[in-house]
Symmetry: C2
Subunit: 237 residues, 2 copies
């Protein structure tokens, strides 16, 4: 496609911009090793993340009102701690551990690629993470967002159309002036269904070397890229 | 006060960060001179701005639901054009003229001061301007916001407490961890009433050299400053 009509790029964050798997494993091991625990830290990280999609279903289905992801993350953390037989953490320790999601590390190409893209386009988040989580992560890891959009502004979790459409509306743009960038096929299909343009950013080790899903683009997207700098190249940034 | 507990600084924008009066006068004259009009451009700018506070009253009072400031600005523009006997503009020309508010120029100290403050604190907007207006202005004028907060996220216009409190809530902070920065006494008093910390930034020529209001801080605020760099000095940035 021509990129002439694009005005804004919005990004999935967990997995697409930052490496949650090793970041969470490192954060959890740093905190729990000191307390005498010896776990499979990557397994802990994957188990915590494994509860992410199911935990949003209550909000998506309307069974419960919108609650921010920090709340769901904490509920999920309590379950994972029990499964891994970890107990005895104070409220402050639990809060700090839960905020590990506010301190996720970018993939090596993310900051340099976003800096390039920012010169030509509005760049924003389109994440299920809440605003504080996104802002704190950006400050921690140098992510140069122009605007924080996504679940909390829309009070709805992707792939609910409202999430994408509220972001587009707040930017004062048409859907085809906004490029949704993600490492996950289903996120892009949902955005495409609402009229957004789409860019696949391959993150074939998001779930480790044996990853079985989202290895490659499985649908027709406007851009298929290998990382954030490849996207910047393709958009002539 | 000690600044140790501050986590985020939020800013009024029109008048505090940007000089709407001369920016709008320049934009309007650039566009209307070409069409043969010869007006008092500063008077036009002041007349347009003069309709700003009254136009928000319908939303504040509940007479109409929230509509974004771009909509109010356009309604107000139509009235001012009629008052100044300007007619014959196309829809595209009216839209471009209305978006002059998206292209306001910063006061000379704003960008350098904000860059300093951003290194130590989260910095965000707390404006009645809508998100697209704020984002486009930031891109146009190099304002390095971490987050866009204010009227549109809250669906309420300052000084409605909801505007300040939604911003604080989305940042995941306590009210006394957030510093409201503004050149307008009433904005700061409203924020202070909700528990936010306050900083007065003097803009004694916002309305020109004969300005009669908001020349100085008229209440007890936590910081009284002469400009954005003075604020950065006082916060040891």
């Amino acid at each position: 496609m021509s990129d002439l009509e694009l005005k804004a790029l919005v990004f999935d964050v967990f997995g697409t911009v930052v490496d949650w798997r090793t970041s969470i494993a490192n954060e959890v091991s740093n905190q729990l090793k000191n307390k005498g625990f010896d776990l499979n830290w990557l397994a802990f990280s994957e188990a915590w993340r494994g509860k992410y999609q199911p935990s949003m279903e209550g909000v998506r289905s309307g069974k419960r009102g919108y609650v921010r992801l920090d709340v769901l993350h904490l509920e999920n953390l309590m379950e994972v701690l029990e499964e891994f037989k970890v107990s005895g953490l104070s409220t402050a320790e639990l809060d700090y551990l839960n905020r590990a999601w506010h301190r996720l590390k970018p993939w090596p190409d993310s900051v340099s690629g976003l800096e390039r893209l920012k010169k030509k386009f509005i760049i924003g988040t389109m994440s299920n993470g809440n605003v504080a989580l996104m802002v704190n992560m950006a400050k921690h890891s140098g992510l140069p967002w122009d605007v924080i959009l996504g679940a909390e502004p829309a009070q709805a979790y992707k792939p609910d159309p409202k999430t994408y459409l509220t972001g587009v509306d707040w930017l004062g743009l048409q859907t085809d002036e906004v490029l949704m960038c993600a490492a996950h096929n289903n996120d892009l299909v949902a955005a495409r269904d609402q009229g957004l343009k789409t860019a696949f950013i391959a993150r074939p080790t998001e779930y480790g070397k044996d990853q079985s899903v989202d290895i490659k683009a499985e649908h027709e997207f406007d851009f298929i890229t290998t990382d954030m700098n490849d996207l910047a190249d393709q958009l002539a940034c």
